[in-house]
């Protein structure tokens, strides 16, 4: 990188607020839905359950 660009790049850096850091942390920690038997297709039970 050209040294002058490097300096400009550093000047153009945004120092994040506490809230912005917290937001990034929260996004990193997002977990997928708990699926248990992952990949297993949903199969309705063979039992005849009629409630209506």
């Amino acid at each position: 990188m050209d040294p002058s660009n490097e300096i400009l790049g550093r000047l153009a850096t945004i120092e994040l607020s506490k809230n912005a850091h917290a937001l990034l942390e929260m996004i990193k920690e997002i977990k997928p839905r708990q699926q248990g038997l992952i990949g297993e297709e949903y199969n309705v039970s063979q039992t005849v359950w009629i409630h209506i």
Partner: protein, 497 residues
């Protein structure tokens, strides 16, 4: 299986007769399913699987979405809420049981919806947290404690940023105090039931507060930079920090994202216009047309064709005109969004501590003008409706046809106006244009009547009553029987092999 399209078609029709934001539709469907099923099976045993079945019939989710774990999770949620309700009834003997049952079913549906939509729920709550934390200290409400202000602004943020309805807001306040019931140990439910009165009291106090609407208006004006920032973060999950800490990268991303969003707005507007016109058509137009035709014949002995044709074609045409003439935001708007994003991300928070006072009433700088403007407004009201009446006379309209015309003019204009407002989702500041202001002044009486009519009529939406009380239960029973029968035949066939 061949019965599934019926369930899907039913859900499509049912959702068309009630106008709701798209992200709320599945939650409302879950709530409807639970309400109906718990009437017949109050303990809710085995309903976890049935909720899933019905969601699959309605194609709310793809066939391979649910696992056995989901059945267990949904069943756990249902069971815990049923136990909680029983405990509330036991402890608070004099409580309004209808209200509690309704609240519990709504909360159940919210918890199930968020469990199904877990990743998105976490993402939305992270963005809401950021929105709330960044702006809350800007707000000043005189004679209100900081704690109360925070509660009020939290609700306003949910309404403005997430566009959530009251059911979701009540549920979120509940989990802020007590946690999601799926995580709560069953022996702690009596403790929650004991404190439930305090929760409903807080709820009533906050939701009825007169500052809420003003806070929602304030929050809506703050949305564009937060929404654009959220989209940038969503698009760059692995390297978001690198982008938002570098001005050059951030500027490029803001410009790209704004362009995308401005283009998407056109498509969204068209979809919203089609949905609302279908809604008006299904719920109101068929009803009035059936009424207008025989009534005119009965009273006047003859049918005037022109008013009938005009009254049928006019509403979709008006909606088209309202939605078609919307200009996308300018480059200047994109620049303003970029500058504001820097403000909200930056460590220097001086901008965010500038106070904005939330005042109850609009106060005119010269009170003497208030009377003049009010008289002028009243005259405009008379002139606008009088001119329309005179014009309709020229077309040989009867009183009945005039009433139908005015009804649709007002309701469609109001819906169109609401849709136009959604086009402003990414507009930071609207310009004050004299011609537009004059046009708006003339249209205001029509919009006011439209707002009144749509709020009154949504209360007596006869189609919702017909669907929910008469059609849904037998129809879903029919689908269920077919499903079981198909499975029975398949099992017998398998035995032959």
């Amino acid at each position: 299986m061949f019965h599934r399209p019926f369930g899907f078609i039913y859900e499509k029709l049912r959702n068309a007769v009630e106008f709701n934001d798209e992200h709320l539709i599945r939650r409302l469907a879950i709530s409807r399913i639970l309400r109906r099923r718990l009437q017949i099976n109050p303990e809710g045993k085995g309903e976890g699987e049935n909720v899933i079945r019905e969601l699959l019939w309605g194609k709310y989710l793809p066939q391979q979405f649910f696992t056995q774990q989901d059945v267990l999770n949904i069943q756990t949620i249902i069971t815990k809420y049923v136990v909680l309700k029983r405990e509330i009834y036991r402890i608070h003997v004099k409580t309004n049981r209808v209200m509690i049952h309704s609240l519990i079913v709504e909360m159940m549906s919210c918890e199930i919806e968020e469990m199904i939509n877990w990743e998105n729920t976490q993402r939305r709550s992270a963005y809401l947290y950021f929105f709330f934390q960044t702006l809350k200290d800007k707000i000043l409400i005189k004679n209100t404690s900081d704690e109360m202000r925070d509660k009020l602004f939290y609700i306003a943020s949910e309404r403005a940023y997430l566009k959530n309805d009251d059911a979701f807001i009540k549920y979120h306040l509940f989990i802020l105090i007590f946690d999601r019931l799926i995580n709560v140990d069953e022996n702690k439910l009596p403790i929650i039931a004991e404190q439930f009165g305090m929760y409903t009291q807080t709820l009533a106090e906050i939701l009825k507060n007169r500052h809420i609407d003003l806070l929602v208006k304030f929050a809506k004006k703050q949305l564009p930079p937060f929404k654009i920032l959220a989209t940038i973060l969503d698009k760059n999950l692995g390297h978001a920090e690198g982008i938002i800490t570098n001005e050059g990268e951030l500027r490029k991303s803001v410009e790209e994202t704004c362009d995308e969003k401005y283009n998407e707005t056109g498509t969204r507007l068209r979809n919203a216009a089609i949905r609302s016109i279908t809604y008006i058509f299904l719920t109101k137009m068929i009803f009035v047309m059936i009424l207008e035709f025989p009534l005119t014949r009965l009273i006047y002995g003859t049918i005037e064709v022109i008013p009938l044709i005009v009254n049928t074609l006019f509403p979709p045409l008006l909606m088209g005109i309202i939605v078609f003439f919307i200009n996308p935001p300018s480059n200047d708007n994109t620049r303003k969004i970029y500058v504001r994003i820097i403000d909200i991300l930056n460590k220097d928070i001086s901008f965010e501590t500038e106070k904005v006072e939330i005042k109850q009433r609009f106060q005119m700088k010269k009170p003497s003008l208030l009377f003049t403007f009010s008289v002028l407004y009243l005259i405009t009201f008379t002139v606008v409706f009088g001119s329309i009446f005179l014009f309709l006379d020229l077309l040989d309209y009867t009183i009945l046809s005039k009433a139908v015309f005015l009804f649709f003019l007002c309701v469609v204009a109001f819906f169109g106006y609401r849709i136009r407002q959604t086009a402003k989702e990414y507009v930071v500041e609207s310009k004050n244009n004299v011609i537009i202001n004059l046009f708006a002044f003339l249209f205001l009486p029509i919009l006011y009547v439209g707002k009144f009519l749509s709020s009154q009529i949504s209360r007596i939406n006869i189609f919702i009553i017909i669907f929910d009380s008469l059609i849904e239960a037998p129809f879903k029973f029919f689908i269920e029987v077919i499903e079981e029968w198909t499975r029975f035949i398949k099992a017998r066939k398998d035995e032959l092999i």
